[in-house]
């Protein structure tokens, strides 16, 4: 794994609080990496530190092994896709995309035009070159923002909650497009989001942040199935804490028959969610509540009924 970006003990103190506290991770070439966490956890600040919009209080940022410490934002070979896209309202789509290329200089008009055409083709926006930002839809604006950054072929593309301004359906579509885009261009993506589903579905690796700290880093499967802290476990999905171990609702089996190691419980209620049923039951042994996620077809249970709860040992995890 070749490292393209290295973040070492990055810290940023503001007057009122510590936004980022000793965060370290590295980004591999061509990797789709997500920084996920609740609002205020410091993920956006981390992104801004990498982009150069803020100065770190301490810590190091290395791009391809070179320190970015004294480089102002406009000299860093990383590019940012802003949450509100920040398209220049007075420039057409083509001029927006050309902006970075024109600043660099050294390219002929024809070369620039060709790069623009390719970039717009990449994001499926060919034909909209002469439109102004206020003449295209929200989803299209996002693609212009992507094209504008990608045309510069940065070493890392930084995305600050790019999908949060889109409606739910568009968001799902764009997720796939983003993933495909990343694969096609082979550029490392550093994706910031508060939506854990997004992070898990898109990333090669995920880093969960909380209160300025990096809590856990790993592949989606690793962090979901083997969370190292309580926070990570609860942030990435629902957890049942049963007898010191954590078990995800989908790993819980409910049966009328008793099995080895199964715990007895009384059904409290169930909620029909369309694709599954969330069944809550109270364990007889210690009174703790447990939620199981079961297929609607396999749920004949009634409230007050006595059932048996079990799960595979491999599905449980323990946190300090």
């Amino acid at each position: 794994m070749q490292t393209v970006l290295e973040v070492r003990a990055l810290t940023k103190h503001f007057a009122t609080h510590r936004a980022v506290n000793g965060v370290s991770f590295s980004l591999a070439r061509g990797e789709f990496f997500s920084l996920v966490g609740p609002s205020g956890c410091g993920k956006t600040t981390t992104l801004r530190l990498i982009a150069g919009f803020e100065e770190p209080t301490s810590g190091q940022l290395l791009l391809d092994g070179q320190s970015m410490e004294n480089l102002p934002a406009y000299r860093r070979d990383v590019s940012t896709v802003f949450q509100n896209y920040a398209l220049f309202p007075h420039l057409t789509v083509a001029k927006n995309v050309a902006f970075g290329l024109e600043r660099r200089g050294g390219l002929s008009r024809a070369a620039i035009a060709e790069k623009i055409a390719r970039a717009l083709d990449l994001v499926h926006l060919t034909g909209k070159e002469e439109r102004l930002p206020n003449q295209i839809s929200g989803g299209e604006r996002q693609r212009v923002a992507l094209a504008r950054s990608l045309v510069l072929e940065p070493k890392v593309l930084l995305l600050d909650e790019p999908l949060s301004a889109l409606d739910a359906k568009l968001r799902k579509e764009m997720r796939q497009e983003l993933k495909a885009l990343q694969r096609r261009t082979g550029i490392a993506f550093l994706f910031v989001t508060h939506d854990q589903e997004e992070a898990l579905s898109l990333s090669d690796r995920v880093a969960i942040m909380n209160g300025g700290h990096l809590e856990q880093l790993g592949t989606p499967r690793e962090v979901y199935c083997n969370p190292k802290t309580r926070f990570v476990a609860e942030f990435l999905g629902n957890v049942n804490w049963l007898g010191g171990a954590g078990v995800r609702p989908e790993a819980i089996r409910v049966s009328r028959d008793t099995l080895d190691g199964a715990s007895a419980a009384i059904v409290e209620g169930q909620t029909f969610l369309g694709n599954c049923v969330h069944l809550t039951a109270k364990l007889i042994s210690d009174g703790s509540l447990c939620t199981a996620e079961i297929h609607p077809q396999h749920c004949p249970f009634q409230a007050g009924e006595r059932v048996f709860i079990s799960w595979d040992a491999s599905d449980e995890f323990r946190v300090p």
Binding site: A73, S79, T80, F88, P89, F99, G100
Partner: protein
């Protein structure tokens, strides 16, 4: 209460516009006294035939145009710099300059110029008026442009930097073009303020640079004259239009 407010507002607007409307109506009056006699455009044409008035108008225009150009450029740059990072002494001094009574500003400039002339062997004239106008209109420009900047989306500047633009390039290619309506609005306002100034101008003008307000003042002191009425209407309509255009530009998104 519900009926009081609209009625009151009507009366208030009437109060605000009545003097100017009266002036306007009677500028077409063929009699010199305040009794309507008949419609005429004579007073308007006599304004154009009055050499002194025309010269005064020319002087006022030159001064206003030069001062506006300079103040707009300097003020816009200053406002941009202040928006990036506040400077309390500059902002404070601009506010002070805005609130200082004109007589104090005028006197201080007169005194200053005379003191400087001890060393430079110069006289009061158009150049001193222009400098004075730049000085007091700067604050107006800064206020208008700064107000416009407050609503400017900072992430656009960040995006420009992110894409490789230096501070100057960001200003030139992104911020300034988007600020243009506000800058033009500030310039129009500046022109209006400069064209109308009497107090400061009269103190630093010297002998050969009479401006239009100075002439009008002298005529108004002598008494009411229909020529002044006609002139007043023309100036009001002219300046009023500039202000309307400026307002339009200021609110344009």
């Amino acid at each position: 209460m519900k009926r009081f407010l609209p009625a009151y507002a009507c009366a208030a607007y009437l109060f605000l516009y009545l003097p100017l409307l009266a002036l306007g109506v009677f500028s077409f009056n063929s009699s010199k006294i305040a009794v309507w006699h008949g419609f005429t455009l004579d007073w308007y044409s006599s304004v154009f035939h009055n050499a002194a008035l025309m010269e005064g108008t020319l002087n006022s225009l030159i001064i206003a145009l030069v001062a506006t150009a300079a103040a707009t450029v300097i003020g816009t740059l200053a406002a941009y710099a202040l928006w990036q990072k506040r400077s309390s002494w500059l902002t404070g001094s601009l506010y002070l300059s805005l609130l200082s009574p004109e007589i104090v500003t005028g006197v201080s400039l007169l005194v200053f110029f005379q003191w400087v002339f001890h060393f430079l062997k110069l006289q009061l004239g158009m150049h001193t008026v222009i400098l004075a106008h730049i000085s007091f209109s700067l604050a107006y420009v800064v206020i208008v442009v700064l107000a416009r900047l407050q609503t400017f989306d900072r992430s656009l500047e960040e995006a420009a930097a992110d894409l490789g633009a230096t501070s100057w390039q960001t200003f030139r290619h992104v911020t300034a073009p988007l600020l243009l309506p506000g800058i033009v609005a500030a310039a129009l306002l500046c022109f209006t303020v400069s064209f109308d100034d009497y107090v400061i101008t009269s103190l630093v003008a010297g002998v050969n640079s009479e401006t239009l307000p100075m002439i009008i003042y002298a005529m108004a002191r002598k008494g009411v004259s229909p020529e002044v009425n006609a002139l007043s209407v023309m100036i009001t309509v002219g300046l009023g239009s500039l202000v309307l255009i400026s307002g339009r530009l200021e609110s344009k998104r």
